[in-house]
């Protein structure tokens, strides 16, 4: 089992979610996060004082997948991020154990 993590700009989230659903993904975990990056730094002004904001509101997707789907799903996600003109990053990691608590399924059955 693998974990795909992607930090994306909010506007492409909908398209990625729809595409993953199309590929048979039934669920995922989503967080609202901030990316710190030079490219997206901007200024906010309150009562005449300038504030630099280099934290970009972003969405983080965590997705548990069987090993043989890792490549396809990673490709889908990064492709949509690219065509959406978006930045962000995708990474994957090895997962040892998953338990689906409601059904007590373990491992691949729990995905």
């Amino acid at each position: 089992m693998k974990l795909i993590s992607a930090v994306i700009r909010p506007p492409v989230f909908e398209a990625i979610k729809d595409a993953l659903t199309l590929f048979g993904v039934r669920g995922m975990t989503v967080d609202q996060v901030h990316q710190i990056s030079q490219e997206t730094a901007h200024i906010q002004i309150y009562r005449g004082q300038r504030f630099a904001v280099d934290a970009q509101p972003s969405v983080k997707i965590d997705l548990l997948v069987p090993d043989d789907e890792l490549a396809d799903l990673t490709r889908v996600i990064s492709q949509i991020m690219t065509t959406g003109g978006s930045d962000g990053s995708v990474w994957t990691s090895q997962i040892d154990l998953v338990v689906r608590v409601r059904t007590r399924e373990h491992g691949l059955d729990a995905l």
Binding site: P11, E14, H34, Q38, A41, H42, I43, Q44, I45, Y46, Q49, R50, F51, A52, V53, D54, A55, L70, A71, D72, T74, R75, S78, Q79, T82, V90
Partner: protein, 475 residues
């Protein structure tokens, strides 16, 4: 010395200034926080700033030329309606404002005013000011801020002044034998705002599809504050319009509240028993409340309590149908009226204006003769005057056609040399792109003055092609 001339009545003056302030509070902060709370989080600042700037712009227009275009001497543009269409523009900046208030064409048609021209001008200003703030609700989420700053003064001059003159300044629709009724602005303000908002939304174009698909509010308690200020502020809106702190002012106030409570509950019950989700909703009941406030506005001091109750009931049901059914029709779903102003103000204002043609009760007296007999009251169809309904329909049509035309022409003109919409990339971001401010900034993620020093970008040696075009698993 004496504090004021004999024609001043301290009570009437005090009530007029208090009523005007109540109406002003409906705009600031009322509309600002109601709309600011209902829109998406990313548009709250833009919405509130448009409300505050709209209010300011109208005041300048009003004292420089607008008030006299609405309430001054008639400008003779031609025969018939053209001779009594709009007033002669001139300023209020001189010392003439301490004189007794005066609407030239109404001299003799109503009692002499008991307050100064300043009190009249400020009272009428707050009505002129709230109207653009109402149709702001139709264009939120894409209108170019600079377009707003130009559109509001032009519209106030060319559309609002005409509405006000025709119905309140003694213009053509107010004159005998027509005598169109609009107690506090069902047509002049609300039908005008609904029409203008709808046409402006159509000309400017829709929000981003993504924004339309997820237009959730950002702060319902703030919307509750705004909505509550609107309701109670309406005591000044309708209670101030007899211009005297007398019995008809009190009638208008209680009628306003009665119609509003009825309308709120009507919408709530329709939501509970006829809507697809069968749930009572807060924002639904607020829509019902506004429908009632708007619909009683043209009628407040002309109908009796039963009339007010019926107006609240009928108008709320009509606007509910309009909101839930008419909005699904092709025309209405194609135009992106952000907050549905065409329903809650346009349809409600029209419904109220027509209902006063049915329900105006001649025993509800606005002004008395010196012997105590009825000096001025209105009579609707149910009390034997069928003509009133036809007159109400004619006045409504005039406001709809004129305001739609003026809105269309101003925006088409502005589109010749500026973009009516913000750029799409700014629409994605919202407030921060337009104003470098946001409604709920996060104090952990910002730091003063400059961004942190730049880090050298990656050289490329370590770049990884992560499965975009590379083979599965590459990298």
């Amino acid at each position: 010395m004496i504090p004021y001339p004999n024609w001043v009545d301290a009570g009437d003056t005090a009530w007029q200034l208090a009523a005007a302030t109540l109406v002003g509070l409906m705009s600031l902060p009322g509309i600002a926080v109601l709309y600011g709370g209902i829109v998406q989080k990313k548009w709250a600042v833009n919405t509130m700033l448009m409300a505050f700037t709209g209010f300011s712009l109208v005041l300048l227009v009003w004292v420089l030329w607008g008030f006299n275009m609405g309430f001054g001497d008639p400008l003779h543009l031609g025969p018939g309606i053209l001779g009594n269409f709009v007033g002669v523009p001139h300023t209020l900046l001189g010392d003439n404002t301490q004189a007794q208030a005066n609407i030239p064409l109404l001299n003799g048609g109503m009692p002499d005013f008991h307050f100064s021209q300043s009190a009249l001008a400020y009272f009428q200003f707050v009505f002129a000011a709230i109207t653009p703030l109402l149709f702001l609700g139709s264009v939120i989420g894409r209108i170019n801020f600079k377009v707003w700053l130009i559109f509001v003064p032009l519209w106030s001059t060319l559309a609002y002044s005409v509405n006000a003159f025709l119905l309140w300044g003694g213009g053509w629709w107010a004159q005998a034998p027509r005598g169109a009724l609009d107690y506090s602005g069902g047509y002049v303000i609300h039908l005008a705002a609904g029409t203008t908002g709808f046409v402006a939304a159509a000309v400017i174009g829709p929000r981003l599809a993504r924004d339309r698909a997820r237009a959730v509010p950002n702060n319902l308690p703030m919307a509750a504050v705004g909505a509550g200020i609107l309701w109670l502020g309406w005591n000044g809106f309708n209670g101030g319009d007899p211009y005297f702190a007398g019995a008809d002012a009190a009638t208008a106030v209680i009628n306003t509240n009665l119609a509003t409570a009825t309308a709120l509950l009507t919408w709530l019950l329709l939501d509970m028993f006829l809507s697809p989700q069968r749930k009572p909703t807060f924002l639904g009941s607020i829509n019902g409340m506004i429908s009632g406030l708007v619909a009683i506005t043209p009628a407040a001091g002309f109908v009796n309590g039963l009339g007010a109750l019926l107006i609240g009931l009928i108008a709320s049901a009509l606007v509910w149908l309009s909101w839930n059914k008419l909005a699904r029709t092709r025309l209405f779903s194609r135009v992106d009226d952000t907050l549905g102003v065409v329903h809650t103000h346009g349809v409600a204002g029209l419904a109220g204006g027509l209902l006063v043609g049915l329900l105006a009760d001649p025993h509800i007296v606005e002004y008395l003769n010196k012997d105590g007999s009825t000096g001025f009251s209105a009579t609707g169809l149910f009390y034997g005057n069928p003509m009133q309904l036809a007159v109400q329909a004619g006045a409504a049509l005039t406001v709809i056609v004129w305001d739609a035309l003026i809105t269309f022409l101003i925006l088409k003109f502005l589109s010749l040399f500026m973009n009516l919409r913000m750029p799409d990339e700014d629409l994605e971001i919202g407030d921060v792109a337009a104003h470098e401010e946001e409604a709920y900034p996060d104090d952990t993620l910002v730091h003063a003055s400059q961004p942190s020093p730049a880090i050298a970008p990656p050289t490329g040696a370590h770049r990884v092609e992560l499965a975009t075009d590379a083979e599965p698993g590459a990298g």
